[in-house]
Structure formats: structure tokens, C-alpha cells
């Protein structure tokens, strides 16, 4: 985990890493990625829909998601 970055590095990195795209695009992208991630994990690991549960049964047990 990166913990020693200064504010300067942070800013520079934002400019180079996120590139020429706007801050709004970055924020929206981060939000959409996180939302899609949660939705996927929810569907595979937590959905009460029986078919989802049965299909992902062994994955749920192996990942120690609350099951049954």
C-alpha cells in the first residue's frame, strides 16, 4: 500500500496517470468501476436468487461468503 506519497507526487501523478482526461471523467470512471465491481461480487456471492446461488455454490463456499 502506498503511504508515503507527498501531495506533490499525488498531483503530478494525477496529471500524468489519469492523463489529459478531465477530473470529472476520472471521478465518474472510478465511481462506475467501483459500482460495477460491487454489483458483480453481489451477484456471484450474495444474491438470494436460487439459480445464482446454485451456479456459484462452490465459489461462495471457497470464498467464505455467507452461504445457505
Amino acid at each position: 500500500m502506498q503511504i508515503n506519497s507527498s501531495t506533490l507526487t499525488h498531483t503530478v501523478q494525477n496529471q500524468t496517470a489519469i492523463g489529459s482526461t478531465s477530473k470529472a471523467d476520472a471521478k465518474l470512471g472510478i465511481f462506475c468501476a467501483a459500482f460495477l465491481g460491487v454489483a458483480l461480487i453481489w451477484g456471484v456471492g450474495f444474491s438470494h436468487i436460487n439459480v445464482f446461488h446454485n451456479a456459484a455454490h462452490d465459489t461462495r463456499h471457497s470464498n467464505a461468503f455467507p452461504c445457505h
Partner: protein
Amino acid sequence: MDTFRRLLITAVLAGVIAGVFVTVVHQIATIPVILKAEVFEKAAETAPAVGNSATADGSAMSTTEHDHATGEAHEHDEGGWEPSDGLQRNAFTAAADILTGIGFALLLAAAYAARGTEMDWRKGLFWGLAGFAVFTLAPSLGLPPEVPGTEAAPLMQRQVWWVATVALTGGGLALIFLTRQILWSVLGVAMIVLPHAYGAPQPVEHHSAAPEALAHSFIVAATMTSLLFWVALGILTGFFFKRQFKAA
């Protein structure tokens, strides 16, 4: 949506590779234990039914009442489509493993982008270890990995506790590692302790159809496969994130 596209590519590449990897590891380590436990589960399901129809004595009655009171261990057998054993079941497990990989990779990649610091495979590894602590270690302390046929508290209560524990542990670790003030760190530790002080939902009585040794070996297998998964996912997301965002 350029950022989203890059995050998605990062997550799909990392998630698919880590998902395929953990599918192989699951086949070796956890699936054989699950299949063994299901033999005991099925035997336990048929045994009380025979007992109840044959006799109506006190012990049989109490078993029936108990099953109705908790009833969570057998929910999945109440019908609905399920993959047939063998190739079909393993194919769905592989698909679920890969989707889980992509889902967690999306969260990691989103966290890297939100943090805004430079990433590489090694920094990704540390984020992966944090993911292991947040999504496996912390919830497992209260709700250990369970083989099929284990009596447990109602599903909804366990899911709520699991989500709360993950959120508090993740938030707590973020406060400890990503801020520099003692007060925030102390609050972070408190957040990590809180769900365990409150306590995970427990069943009325602990009972498992599978022998204790099998249940124990499953805890070890599930925890270790999860560690391997998170190490792989952290390294891969760090690596692909760097490649996706350095070209920008």
C-alpha cells in the same frame, strides 16, 4: 469515460487471469473438501426424515423443531435449477471465480485511481494483502469458512454482519495507512475491532453434518486459497494498472 475504459481493461485482464488461477487452486484445495462434506450433508438430510416417519418420540420431535427453527442449512436444496456434478458444475464454478476476480479487481483498480499514486506490481501486492485482510481475514474471524451442511444463523443476518465488517475493516485500514494523524489511526483501530466486539450472528446451536476434522481442514484450505487469490489479484491489478495509465 476514458478512465472507466482503462479501469475496466485493467480489471478484466487481472480478474480473468487471477480467476483462472484460483479456479485451479480451488479444484485442488477446496472443492474436494466441499464434495466430501456434501456426502455427510446428504446422509444427514435423509436420516432424520426416516427417523421421524418411523417414530414420533421426543428426540425425533426435537430434531424436527430444530430444523424448523434454524432451517438455514438446507435452503439450497429446496428446488430450482442447479448444475449437474462434474464438468457443468466446475464450469460454473470457474465462471463464478472469474467474475469474482473481475469484481474485486474493479474495486482495487478504482482504489488505485482514487488514490492517484503511481502503481506497480509490488504496490499492488500490498493492496492485495489488504484486500485479503478486509474481505477474508476479518469476516472469517466471526464467520469462519463453512463446508455444506453446517448449521448457521439466518443468512440475512450473516450477510449484513459480513458487509458491515468488510466496510469497517476497509475504512479502518484506510484511516491507519492513508492518513498521518494519531486520532484517525486510533479511530481506524476502533473501527476494525467494533464488529468483533459486537459479535457475529451465531446459530441457536452449533452443529455440522461433516466431521470436525473436515470442517477444520476447509477453514485452512479456504483461507490459503483466498490468500493466493488476493496476492495474484494485487500483483496483476498493479501491473495492468501501470500499463493502462502510463500511456495516457
